[in-house]
């Protein structure tokens, strides 16, 4: 066989410093270090702290002391009562609205869908502000009726948290309903199943895991919510406000650690049950689904539509009244419009808004780069590294923001921590925002990566491209729409989150939602409304810009 005289390949083994290996190591290593430093470390420290005795030995003394206190039980009881009522109402109403959206036939669904997105655009205390403007001592309703409604307390909290949690319940249950193919209903029709039977035998089982999952999500966000609890809770103390008072006010770190760990239990449990459930329902594929298009049926659709419009109307009303009140000269006495409330007259003014925008931009940018790098790296890392990292990267969702914030303050406040210098800096808030929402960002991109054909990388490799180059030229454009979604998600969440950052705000680095709390706390409710409206404006602007960007990306390529 005559050898071709041209370019003979260089014989060689894959060296330790092969360019691809270095690239993969960096892609996996840097985000993994981030997870260890900003997620594993703080959570581990809270845990250790909770079992550390005053003399430095380990034991359950802290738990004993706290569980013996009557106050702790009262607060926990109140939290559970409020959370269970909220969960029941939110999931029940959420199921009905999801049914209306995906199994009903009526006009104006856009309004319901839009209403459901609204609460994601503002901090969770927005609902409380709205309720105060409507039902508070100086609220419209109280004025008209001439009676005083006591909105501060359990029922105010239940309403505010329900309004906040309801959209998530609708979305989660709706996502489960979408998966049920129209052809299944057609088959049932052909077999002679009547509508109620179809509901019982097809719709309910399909929604089952969605409902379960919604219960856990709503339970978690409600029991750990800080914004509404602080604004409308009044004397009805719940765990979130109690922890804040004990840790930030009295430096009672032991109580913080113990309650933090205990708050972790239901959410960790929920997290694993939910994962189990989603694994079971994974048989259903999202691709190739024929959407169910219901025919008009007045007996079903009129009640469904009425309920949906009333509830989503209330969601919109509560938020709209905040925006309206922010432009009113003196609520509720002088309803002439003015910008007076936008002149924030406490220390800091709008500084925190700008700081929050910067923090959110950084959290979104760094976070997106990190999860993208991690996703690229995990595709090529050996299984013994990739598998545990997959699990770790999906774990932060099991830690409520409140606990994570608590963990950060304990970990980074300590002088013995070499990263103590981060305490009180914006960097730490950027980190807490990103790692708080790490799971959702990571999983969104993983879904994208799963659609990315492996052969594209193989084809690229055969053409001589190394992984770095391929990631830039092929993977990045492919993933662009999902990267924009993740960017937007991280930005929006960082803008409006309260529970994690409330522990890390300092006089010099204060975030917007914390400033709103301070405004409300000092009786400047209308200024709090103005600040909330400004904050929401920024979020909506970002939403519009990035949606536009995604349109451009989508229309540019793969058209036709």
């Amino acid at each position: 066989m005559t050898a071709r005289p041209s370019t003979a390949p260089v014989p060689g083994r894959k060296g330790l410093f092969d360019a691809n290996r270095l690239f993969v190591a960096a892609c996996v290593g840097i985000p993994a270090l981030g997870l260890l430093l900003f997620f594993v470390q703080p959570v581990a420290i809270v845990f250790l702290r909770s079992i550390t005795e005053p003399d430095g030995s380990y034991g359950l003394g802290n738990y004993h002391r706290i569980l013996e206190g009557a106050r702790f039980w009262r607060v926990t009881g109140q939290s559970l009562v409020m959370t269970l009522i909220t969960t029941a109402i939110s999931v029940g109403a959420g199921f009905v609205i999801a049914l209306a959206l995906y199994r009903g036939h009526f006009r104006g669904k856009w309004f319901v869908r839009g209403a459901i997105l609204l609460p994601l655009l503002a901090p969770s205390l927005m609902q409380s502000l709205g309720l105060i403007f409507l039902l508070g001592r100086n609220g419209i309703v109280s004025r008209i009726l001439g009676t005083e409604i006591e909105i501060y307390g359990l029922w105010g909290l239940v309403i505010a948290n329900t309004l906040y949690a309801l959209p998530q319940a609708v979305m989660i249950i709706g996502a489960a309903l979408v998966l049920l193919d129209a052809r299944v209903y057609e088959a049932a029709d052909v077999m002679g199943a009547r509508p109620f039977r179809q509901f019982r035998d097809l719709t309910l089982p399909a929604a089952k895991y969605g409902i379960l999952s919604a219960i856990f999500v709503v339970f978690t966000i409600t029991i750990t919510d800080f914004g509404n609890a602080a604004v409308i809770g009044g004397n009805y103390t719940v765990l979130a406000t109690e922890i804040y008072r004990q840790v930030v006010g009295r430096q009672n770190f032991n109580l913080g650690a113990v309650v933090g760990i205990m708050l972790l239990l239901p959410t960790v449990l929920a997290y694993f049950i939910e994962r189990q459930a989603s694994r079971k329902s994974r048989g259903q594929k999202a691709a190739g689904i024929l959407p169910y298009v219901p025919k008009y049926s007045p007996l079903r659709d009129i009640p469904l539509a009425a309920f949906s419009f009333v509830v989503s109307g209330f969601v919109v009303l509560v938020m709209a009244v905040v925006v309206y009140a922010s432009f009113v000269t003196l609520w509720p006495y002088d309803l002439s419009l003015s910008l007076k409330n936008y002149a924030i007259d406490i220390a800091g003014g709008y500084d925190s808004l700008w700081i929050t925008i910067w923090i959110s931009l950084w959290a979104a940018a760094v976070g997106t780069v990190f999860v993208f790098a991690l996703g690229v790296g995990l595709r090529h890392a050996p299984a013994w590294i990739a598998q545990p990292l997959q699990v770790l990267a999906a774990m932060p969702a099991a830690v409520p923001g409140l606990v994570l914030g608590l963990a950060y303050i304990m970990a980074f406040n300590s002088l013995s921590n070499p990263f103590n210098f981060l305490y009180g800096t914006a960097t730490l808030i950027i980190a807490v925002n990103f790692y708080h929402y790490h799971t959702q960002a990571f999983l969104t991109l993983q879904t994208g990566f799963r659609q990315f054909p492996e052969t594209l990388e193989e084809a690229g490799a055969s053409l001589g491209a190394n992984l770095g180059r391929l990631s830039r030229d092929v993977v990045l454009p492919f993933m662009a729409p999902m990267l924009v979604s993740v960017l937007l998600f991280l930005f929006m969440r960082s803008m409006v989150t309260i529970s994690a950052v409330v522990f890390l705000s300092t006089p010099s680095v204060s975030v917007a939602s914390f400033q709103i709390l301070r405004l409300e706390d000092s009786g400047r409710t209308s200024q709090a409304a103005a600040f909330s409206t400004a904050l929401m404006g920024v979020v909506i602007l970002a939403l519009l810009l990035l949606t536009l960007l995604n349109r451009v990306i989508a229309s540019h390529h793969r058209a036709g």
Binding site: M1, P9, G12, E458, A459, G460, S462, L463, H557
Partner: protein, 340 residues
């Protein structure tokens, strides 16, 4: 050999995908890896490409060991069943990507891309995105992309399987003539024996991780060595020695002494003549257009014969059969292949 593969073994847990496979490709040769799904042919191709690493064995290219070399340094062209064009690059950008990686000047890339698009007769689609192309067009672009960098070896992984019948035949001819023209040593994986027969200089037939038989298309079709090859390379009548003696006693006597004890007779090699006292009877006819397949009841059991065009016989007719010894191949059972 230009490419020499020696004793490659690859296992996944308890499953042996490749079991000491040795094979090769000569200068300018078109080789097909043929076998049913799961036989290891794609694994072999991917090991040669460097996309997976074998547990043991060697790959020599022009005498140099490239077993541990990463894919991107091997300089091979690969075409996949799924086209695998980069979705966010135009046709021209796809074809020129390999040259761009090599740092070629922009003018040179444009010129080369133009030549290649002319070659695959798609110059008018240069600025389209892959999503706007038909399957056949995409696969031609993928082919152009793989040969743009003058690969030392072209690897085709079931390149035609995703296409519909007509496009498949057309592209098959195109790949064949392109390879004849450029003389790039080529390995194509396929499970379609007709495809393999049509294009290859040599066929490597695989089953259960083993190389079963390698040879020219004629050799594999007319002189299969095992029952598996005989079965896989089209229809055949496989008769044991006793059965054969009942229909063609002369042939049975010519049996070789190497352990091959099954006679393989291709349906079109059976001569049929009407004979009221003949041993065979026509059971059924299957008219397939260009040929007619004839099911026969014979003393050796069911047999099948084929004649071109319309059948000269009717069901129930009695026939006598004639089979010449040169048209009878002797094959052995291949139970041993999987047993070890």
């Amino acid at each position: 050999m230009y490419l020499d593969v020696r004793d490659l073994t690859k296992t996944y847990g308890t499953f042996t995908a490749l079991d000491r496979v040795s094979a090769g490709v000569d200068e300018g040769e078109f080789v097909c890896l043929l076998g049913p799904s799961g036989c290891g042919k794609t694994t072999l191709l991917r090991v040669i490409a460097g996309l997976i690493e074998a547990d043991s064995g060697q790959i020599l290219l022009k005498g140099a060991d490239i077993s541990g070399m990463p894919t991107r340094q091997r300089g091979f062209g690969i075409v996949f069943q799924s086209y695998s064009l980069f979705p966010d690059m135009t046709v021209a950008q796809n074809v020129g990507y390999g040259l761009k990686i090599r740092g070629a000047a922009r003018d040179r890339i444009r010129k080369r891309v133009g030549e290649l698009l002319d070659m695959i007769r798609l110059p008018h689609l240069a600025d389209r995105y892959p999503g706007q192309l038909s399957g056949g067009q995409q696969q031609r672009v993928a082919l152009a992309r793989s040969i743009a960098v003058d690969p030392q070896l072209l690897l085709l992984d079931e390149p035609l399987s995703a296409l519909d019948a007509k496009v498949r035949a057309e592209l098959r001819r195109e790949i064949h003539s392109l390879q004849r023209e450029l003389r790039i040593p080529t390995i194509m994986v396929t499970h379609d024996q007709e495809e393999a027969l049509a294009v290859s200089d040599r066929i490597i037939c695989m089953n259960r991780g083993h190389l079963v038989q390698a040879g020219t298309a004629e050799e594999l079709y007319l002189r299969p060595q095992t029952r598996f090859v005989a079965d896989f390379m089209g229809r055949s009548n496989l008769l044991g020695i006793e059965a054969l003696a009942r229909v063609a006693p002369g042939l049975a006597a010519a049996r070789p002494r190497d352990g091959a004890d099954l006679a393989c007779i291709r349906p079109e090699q059976i001569g049929l003549s009407p004979d009221p006292d003949g041993p065979a009877r026509v059971r059924e006819l299957e008219f397939l257009g260009n040929i007619t397949r004839i099911g026969l009841d014979t003393p050796a059991g069911n047999m099948v014969a084929e004649v071109s065009g319309h059948s000269p016989v009717r069901p129930g007719d009695r026939l006598s059969l004639s089979i010449s010894s040169e048209h009878c191949a002797w094959v052995r059972e291949d139970a041993a292949a999987g047993a070890q």
